[in-house]
């Protein structure tokens, strides 16, 4: 049986993309899989009694070494802010290519804590900073110093000791360009070095609380129980900075979504499901419910989604247990079709992720196809004709072409880069200044505009001639020829509409990172947790691949 790939017009709607969940394809899970055989080491731990100072952690295999350099600094309470406008943090980190020399550490000590205003070199690969969750951090230090383990209820409510507020890579602030390292096999999957940084930062947070507690009360203090450590992750506050990325990298976006869609298609095409596979699917599904029931958020928008997800999941589990038999042919296809009829977007995408769990043989080859050589698709095929371009728009942007942009609500917002932080922002074009400096992220509107011009142009005109008088549309002409080859490269929604939820764009990207427990703090930023339940570095050599469903929280 041949199953069709899902329709991009449905899947690439923001409401659907904003319902994606982590899966076996997620970058933090594929990172752990790749680095499980590497030698982990804490090379330097030079902190004072209060936990301030320098630490270095590394992963090594043969001649290749990646070192995380951590700088923990004193921060006054009134200086602590998760917002991107902050200039100081509890700790700052850089992932260094190789073993840093003393000179490197001295150089980085001056630059890394400054983050965006510091300068890194081609020897550094990623950069980040993090703030303590003060409530949890202090409680953990206090408890450990008294010789007792912390309150698990409090830990479970938050899920981490520190949260990062940005992780930078790919040439930002002087960091190494991707081309310098892209041929290394171990980092072929997307964002692998960003994941490594976050993972090692997590270990630093455990070592730091143990160290501070020990210094506070050398005789009584105990270390944080490794099982508790395992159930703590790293938090992350994410704002609009992440949103334009998925618009600016169309072929990369396509390759992420295509991997997911291809995985689903192949799973639906399996004729006979082995019992061990259906059992694993059911076990993961049941265990995963804990991740939903411990998903805390004050956001009404998310609460509603969680409630509907839980409700749908209960109905689905009931169907699975009482009315479904895995011995029938194409069982996963039947499950998928049932979900389409009976569940909402959150639940459909949740189960799609879950279906991947038993199938390493399908997923692993797809993981290596989630990168993109974007420059290969940059040139516009200018020998094509207006008629061909028009057909592409009609086929690939059919819903977009129906949007009426003369209506205020469809043209409400504009994306811009803020002067003070050089970060993407969204504003109401009728209330705020600066819409004339709009970023090229209103793809739907610009595609519609292009279509209107094409409609009054001569069909046989070649694109080179068309562009002579229509250079304003050049950026979307390029995109149209990209979507012709990459069906999942474009968000099929209006990114400047009044009703648009920017956090849907963030959630899409974060789900591919492998984040869980999305906690929207407004429609423009959210908090998440990464690596909660993940094996500790010493446990990597022999870890359970389904750790994400075995968290105690």
């Amino acid at each position: 049986m041949q199953v069709e790939l899902r329709d991009p017009n449905v899947i690439m709607k923001l409401s659907r993309l904003g319902s994606f969940h982590q899966s076996k394809l997620s970058f933090l899970r594929s990172f752990l899989k790749e680095f499980k055989d590497w030698e982990y080491k804490r090379d330097l731990f030079n902190l004072d009694e209060f936990g301030y100072g320098v630490a270095v952690y590394s992963f090594k295999k043969k001649d290749r070494i990646y070192s995380l350099i951590c700088f923990a600094n004193k921060l006054d309470e009134n200086e602590r802010s998760d917002r991107v406008i902050a200039t100081k943090w509890d700790a700052a980190f850089a992932l260094h290519d190789g073993v840093p020399t003393k000179k490197d550490i001295e150089r980085l000590k001056n630059e890394v804590p400054k983050q965006e205003v510091g300068r890194l070199s081609y020897k550094e690969l990623t950069l980040s900073r993090a703030n303590k969750s003060v409530r949890v951090y202090n409680h953990v230090v206090e408890s450990l110093s008294k010789g007792i383990q912390p309150d698990l209820n409090l830990l479970s409510k938050v899920g981490y000791l520190y949260r990062t507020t940005a992780v930078y890579g790919s040439g930002k602030f002087g960091l190494a360009d991707r081309f310098r390292i892209k041929n290394r096999k171990e980092i072929y999957g997307p964002f692998r070095l960003e994941m490594m940084l976050v993972y090692l930062v997590r270990q630093f947070t455990f070592d730091q609380v143990n160290h501070v507690a020990k210094n506070k009360n050398p005789k009584k203090a105990v270390n944080l129980d490794p099982q508790i450590c395992k159930n703590l992750g790293i938090g992350n506050s994410t704002g609009l900075g992440m949103a334009p990325f998925i618009v600016n990298h169309p072929t990369l976006l396509n390759n992420w979504i295509y991997a997911r869609e291809m995985a689903l298609k192949k799973i639906r095409e399996i004729r006979n499901i082995k019992t061990e596979h259906s059992d694993l699917f059911k076990i993961c599904l049941k265990k995963s419910i804990k991740n939903i029931t411990s998903w805390n958020t004050e956001s009404e928008y998310q609460q509603k989604k969680i409630k509907s997800l839980l409700n749908d999941l209960n109905i689905f589990i009931n169907f699975l247990e009482k009315k479904f038999n895995f011995s029938k042919e194409f069982a996963f296809n039947e499950i998928y079709l049932w979900l389409e009829k009976n569940s909402g977007d959150e639940c459909i995408e949740y189960i799609v992720s879950m279906m991947m769990e038993p199938y390493d043989d399908i997923i692993n080859p797809l993981i290596n196809k989630m990168n993109s050589e974007e420059e290969k698709y940059f040139n516009i095929p200018t020998d094509r004709t207006v008629s061909e371009l028009k057909t592409i728009l009609e086929n690939k942007y059919s819903k977009i072409l129906n949007i009426n942009f003369s209506k205020k609500e469809n043209n409400q917002n504009f994306w811009f880069i803020s002067k003070n932080k050089e970060e993407p922002r969204l504003a109401d074009r009728f209330m705020e200044q600066g819409s004339e400096l709009e970023q090229p992220l209103a793809i739907a509107r610009d595609i519609k505009k292009l279509y209107d011009v094409l409609s009054v142009s001569k069909n046989s005109l070649t694109i080179d001639k068309f562009l002579v008088n229509n250079s304003d549309s050049r950026h979307v002409v390029r995109r149209a020829f990209i979507i012709e080859k990459f069906p999942y490269s474009e968000i099929q929604d209006n990114t400047i509409a009044q009703s648009m939820m920017p956090i849907d764009m963030l959630r899409l990207k974060l789900s591919f990172f492998g984040a869980i427990k999305f906690d929207p703090r407004s429609d423009k930023w959210l908090r998440i947790c990464m690596f909660q339940g993940a094996p500790l570095p010493e446990q990597l050599k022999n870890y359970d691949d389904h750790w994400i469903y075995n968290s105690l929280n």
Binding site: S121, F173, N379, D472
Partner: protein, 203 residues
């Protein structure tokens, strides 16, 4: 040191800021990155061009022909380059294309390099006495190594290089003969068991 990613982003944004469309700015970002990667002065020339553009007008060459002369003003290297890149397939038959007075011709060069990749032919670009051989956008061979600004190319010539061998047939034969010394003579029984063995060829 600035990363190529920073160079691309800043070039793109500055290009947009001077009034070019976002689509053109994207092209300029990629081009400046390429120039700097190949060791040519992209940032210097771009910066200088944008500075001069505030006080001086340039002619837009929208349709490229065999000979492109400008009346008074110098050609804008970005529009001329873009037109050449976009129209290169239809220009190939000319074999040679001449331009008079292209401002900041180093900014024109990356478009020609990319055009070489588009048509799958090497292109020779002459900017007055400076010669560049653009190899399918993979490398640039040049007699121009001095870093710096070229504010105008008075005579710019693009030659389409035919895809032909750079050596004589006898040189090839000599080398081929040498390579044969790595081959092993097959025995009769191995020849019999090769691909297609045992089948009737007239089936």
């Amino acid at each position: 040191m600035k990363s190529l990613s920073e160079i691309e982003t800043v070039s793109k944004r500055s290009c947009r800021a001077t009034g070019f469309s976002w689509g053109i700015a994207e092209e300029v970002g990629i081009n400046t990155r390429m120039l700097e990667m190949f060791g040519l002065s992209g940032i210097k020339n771009l910066n200088h061009y944008f500075r001069v553009r505030n006080v001086k007008k340039f002619e837009k060459l929208n349709l490229v022909s065999k000979e492109n002369k400008t009346s008074k003003l110098e050609f804008c290297p970005i529009i001329a380059g873009l037109s050449f890149l976009d129209q290169v397939r239809s220009l190939e038959s000319f074999r040679e294309i001449k331009f008079e007075k292209i401002a900041y011709p180093l900014l024109f060069l990356p478009f020609v390099s990319r055009a070489s990749e588009v048509i799958g032919k090497k292109l020779q670009l002459k900017i007055d006495s400076r010669v560049f051989l653009l190899n399918y956008n993979n490398s640039i061979y040049s007699n121009f190594l001095n870093e710096g600004i070229i504010d105008v190319g008075s005579n710019v010539l693009i030659k389409f290089q035919e895809n032909k061998d750079s050596f004589e047939e006898n040189e090839w034969r000599e080398l081929y003969k040498l390579s044969e010394n790595t081959f092993v003579e097959e025995s009769d029984s191995l020849k019999q068991a090769g691909a297609g063995a045992g089948l009737t060829d007239n089936d």
